[in-house]
């Protein structure tokens, strides 16, 4: 008789399978999918702005931006700006395509086979759209930041810095988890447990006080105090 398969708690199962899937899927993405996904991102972003890839692999981005720079002491003539060109290293662009494999790993590690496929399909489309949106937001913020530096305008500098920090350094890491929790109901219910909390309260509300003060519920109560 084969030894019984150990049954893990949902948290342990999610941690083990999630970590293994993250390593496997991200390694596959790094070796095989990174190049094609970068090309797709460049083409998708190309619908909204001009993106060219240099022979070195760096991107030259032309962000459309209509702005009139008023004359200053150093520059007596007003200047009209229609776009901002800047170089974007390939490694910077790569930050906007790795959320998708992270999302796949989270969903595949989540419970429930039926919901997995649905969440995988819808989530892939949502994540792909969010990745393009993040790249466009980053380009816009960089262009505005460049113009503000030329103008010497310190206004809303903190907000720009926050945006330029959040968009490439925080959101690509957080969004796959947020989207997975939004789309996968079973995972959301297990993690946030709002339904469970409501059920326990409703259950306890219907019990007389002496029932709550006896047995496992009383143990839980005593543990708190």
């Amino acid at each position: 008789m084969p030894p019984p398969v150990p049954r893990f708690k949902p948290t342990t199962r999610f941690l083990i399978s999630g970590s293994a899937l993250l390593i496997g899927i991200l390694a596959l993405w790094w070796v095989a999918l990174r190049g094609p996904m970068l090309d797709l991102l460049r083409d998708a972003a190309g619908v909204f702005l001009q993106v060219k890839e240099n022979p070195s692999g760096e991107w030259t981005v032309r962000a459309p931006l209509e702005k009139l720079l008023p004359p200053t002491a150093q520059r007596p003539v007003a200047r009209e700006i229609h776009f901002v060109n800047f170089e974007m290293p390939r490694s910077d662009a790569t930050r906007f395509i790795f959320s998708l494999p992270v999302y796949w790993a989270i969903i595949l590690a989540s419970p429930g086979a039926k919901r997995k496929l649905r969440s995988l399909l819808i989530g892939t489309a949502v994540m792909a759209a969010l990745e393009v949106a993040l790249l466009l937001a980053f380009v816009d913020l960089t262009a505005y930041d460049a113009i503000s530096r030329i103008q010497g305008d310190p206004g809303f500098q903190w907000g720009r810095r926050l945006g330029l920090y959040m968009v490439p350094n925080v959101l690509p890491y957080v969004l796959p988890f947020g989207v997975a929790l939004s789309l996968h109901r079973q995972l959301r219910e297990q993690v946030l447990q709002f339904a469970k909390e409501t059920n326990v309260q409703a259950f306890c509300a219907g019990l007389p006080a002496d029932r709550i003060n006896r047995g496992p519920l009383a143990k839980v109560r005593r543990g708190r105090s």
Partner: protein, 173 residues
């Protein structure tokens, strides 16, 4: 009941997003950056201590850890786990639970994250000596994502405990 769940979910998301934005805003200010640099320094000191105890000949120069073969790695900005700590704090503070439970979650969760971050830093220190390409992969993508996953599991474990204690206590009052 479903409406109540939706209301709680929406409230959680809004408070979470608000705290997250405010905390990252604070993190970018000069005093917080100073404290952030001090935290990096302390973590590198601990990592260096761990390596020295295990017989490594690595040397430390401020927040830089240097191998005898010349490879060096510096802990800076988001490398000290401050980003994921903010993420965990925002989630715990946004979740409806007793303040005592929140305080326990904030302290215990931060300690676990920092312990994991030291493991991460040491593993990157050795991986970088083997391959810079795989160092880049592990540093920017793999370990960062793993830390967010670990943070989600820490939060999940905390919610398990908080919900059980809170609901029973509230109903028994």
């Amino acid at each position: 009941m479903a409406r109540s769940e939706n209301h709680r979910g929406l409230r959680f998301v809004l408070i979470f997003a608000g705290i997250l934005l405010a905390a990252f805003g604070v993190l970018l200010t000069s005093p917080a950056q100073y404290l952030d640099a001090r935290l990096s320094l302390a973590l590198v000191k601990i990592a260096h201590g761990v390596l020295a105890t295990c017989g490594s000949h690595a040397t430390r120069d401020a927040a830089i850890l240097r191998a005898p073969n010349g490879f060096a790695v510096e802990m800076r900005d988001g490398c000290n786990g401050s980003n994921v700590t903010i993420l965990l704090w925002s989630a715990i503070l946004a979740f409806p639970a007793r303040w005592r439970m929140k305080a326990i979650g904030l302290v215990a969760g931060s300690l676990i994250i920092q312990a994991l971050n030291i493991v991460r830093f040491i593993s990157l220190f050795y991986l970088g000596q083997y391959s810079l390409t795989w160092f880049d992969f592990a540093h920017t993508y793999l370990w960062e994502s793993m830390l967010v996953l670990d943070t989600m599991v820490i939060f999940w474990l905390w919610v398990n405990r908080a919900v059980r204690l809170d609901a029973a206590a509230r109903a028994a009052v």
